[in-house]
Symmetry: D2
Subunit: 218 residues, 4 copies
Amino acid sequence: MNFKTYAEATGKNALNLAKTADKINQETGVSVGIAPQFVDIASIAQNVSIPVFAQHIDPVTHGSFTGHILPESVKEAGAVGTLINHSERRLKLADIDAAITRAQQVGLVTVICSNNSAVSAAIAALKPNMVAVEPPELIGSGISVSKAKPEVVSGTVDLVKRVNPEVVVLCGAGITTGEDVAAALKLGTEGVLVASGIVKAKDQYKALLDFAEAITKV
Amino acid sequence: MNFKTYAEATGKNALNLAKTADKINQETGVSVGIAPQFVDIASIAQNVSIPVFAQHIDPVTHGSFTGHILPESVKEAGAVGTLINHSERRLKLADIDAAITRAQQVGLVTVICSNNSAVSAAIAALKPNMVAVEPPELIGSGISVSKAKPEVVSGTVDLVKRVNPEVVVLCGAGITTGEDVAAALKLGTEGVLVASGIVKAKDQYKALLDFAEAITKV
Amino acid sequence: MNFKTYAEATGKNALNLAKTADKINQETGVSVGIAPQFVDIASIAQNVSIPVFAQHIDPVTHGSFTGHILPESVKEAGAVGTLINHSERRLKLADIDAAITRAQQVGLVTVICSNNSAVSAAIAALKPNMVAVEPPELIGSGISVSKAKPEVVSGTVDLVKRVNPEVVVLCGAGITTGEDVAAALKLGTEGVLVASGIVKAKDQYKALLDFAEAITKV
Amino acid sequence: MNFKTYAEATGKNALNLAKTADKINQETGVSVGIAPQFVDIASIAQNVSIPVFAQHIDPVTHGSFTGHILPESVKEAGAVGTLINHSERRLKLADIDAAITRAQQVGLVTVICSNNSAVSAAIAALKPNMVAVEPPELIGSGISVSKAKPEVVSGTVDLVKRVNPEVVVLCGAGITTGEDVAAALKLGTEGVLVASGIVKAKDQYKALLDFAEAITKV
């Protein structure tokens, strides 16, 4: 679950949402990874047992990189992985490659976002842990990629596995209901990326529970 | 004091360095502002009484800005201000303007970095709280801008004050000793930006004390 | 007149539009500067006597800068000036400063675009020949800045002249008729930036003539 | 042959160098593709029969893209192909994908540059015509990639062909002599990218002849 910079998922609200996801994990056994803003990583990681991800890292090392996201810093703050190349924070190709290498050096799981099947296949060649395909035009739309563009999802699974069968495929964009999640899993993905669908839900607990139940049913 | 992504100023080391600066403040009355990495802001702000700055903010609002630095988030984490446009994290002109506006909206003090006198004057027109001129070629060099390029420092003070007399002028780059600080203050600046000169000193406490004493003597 | 990448102003169409503007110049005495795409600069400059501008230059020198726009190259191709920092091609602040310096070194007139009054004032401190203020939300809208936001135009003239009285102020965005031009000149600007208003007009000659007559009447 | 922004390959010098390469073609039958600066494409394409490439294109269409390189414009100016993602002009991954698509739409041959084997394989998944691997640290060094890092070259050929056997592999960086070219071809590449090795040679004709003879000997 990507917290983005939503008001409902910043600071104290971020901690509360993380605790809700943690509770869902205890009740259903479904482990929801969460990606809060950088400044919220440490306090959240200290208070929940579900995996915490950074929303981005820079391919930098210790040194003179003011204002950049050092992989070591998010790791020490308690994150276990990181998103890279989200459609709202796209990177140059050489930097994606370098960021994956740096993440592996410090022991962060890598989830690389892509905008279509071909780009997903390209990313797979860089040996990340996971690729998450998200058609930009559906992000935040409430129209689920798994229902509106099933061919993008299944095509991505197909192309990615051909380049590198070890890469786990996720999908995202417009995922709002447990049904959307179930559709995504049927298309061959092993999980979903979700943001507004839960963060902006009237009842975040209920929305998360709906997702968790969809996953346990598969 | 800019912590950059130095190993000596990341995570636990960052907290220790912040506490040392806090101690110097209690002993000498000189308040050293510190700019740690984003993930370290919250834990440091909870443990020291000196002002904490972010190293950068993005001109974004609550919403869909994955991987960006939301001004509200660094404020809620306890920062009182932010660097913007550091030579290692330069921004587009329109984004500097927008970031200053956003910082003012959430109540963050703005310290905008520049690379020369003309750029400093341009920044002054955007009405930040402070401008910090740092010739890039001297950053991390150990050769002090206040001694090697005094005309850049005094020229910046002159041009900035002509555009906007309310803007405080700082300088940085190569500042290593209390003597460098004193030279900077004599040239009309009201403070200095320092990084490796203290962070990478064998004895950070001693290096900070040297700086603080130079300031109290003025 | 900015040709952007419009079909009506690319290749042969670019040359034809340039010749139309040249004819207007001969008939009315009004000299319309034109900014075609890079590849069209040379052939146009050889065929018209009105001033040709580049749409952008990079702050680079002779050397290893593959894919960049070398100021010397556009000069040698026949351009007399260049746009810099158009809202569709914004630059980092330090690069605007460096690009202005490079343009002056090779003898290119600089027209720096800005998005509001404060940014215009900042640019004036960098000593370009001209500043062109264009509120991004009005670009291509057909709603003229000189009528919809006269305070932005007059405020820019005021702030720019205070920082540097030698800088010429232009305005743009939504300028479609001779009336819009006249309004802009009354607000203290010395010219306008126009694109779709002429390029996409059914009769480019007639649209240009309307503009030229508005200028001669002032 | 990449002309970069070298003084020896700008404007008139660019045309002269292009004619020299054209002469070599007539004398040896070896066709050297050349990539001059944008403003020089048209005059060169009119005067030589060897293939002319752009150094870069942007993934834009006809419309409001001031200062960008429209694929249609370089095509109409006479280019038959384009470099994309040169180490001096790196693009975001999604933009490389979009630029390849745009190039194919207008009929431009695509040569995508990469910095290592893994990135080359990623690019191959995007179905360009050619991939050119160039370790950045060797570019302009005079130390040939084909001799100093043969494993990067052969590793790239291997990985690229596994992802997409139709993609032609080139290599570059430090290529200075015919011997370097021969070594590159033996490693499985089908051509080389060269810049300073010829552009900055005392006798460009002789340097080119040396290269051409190395190719004819294979």
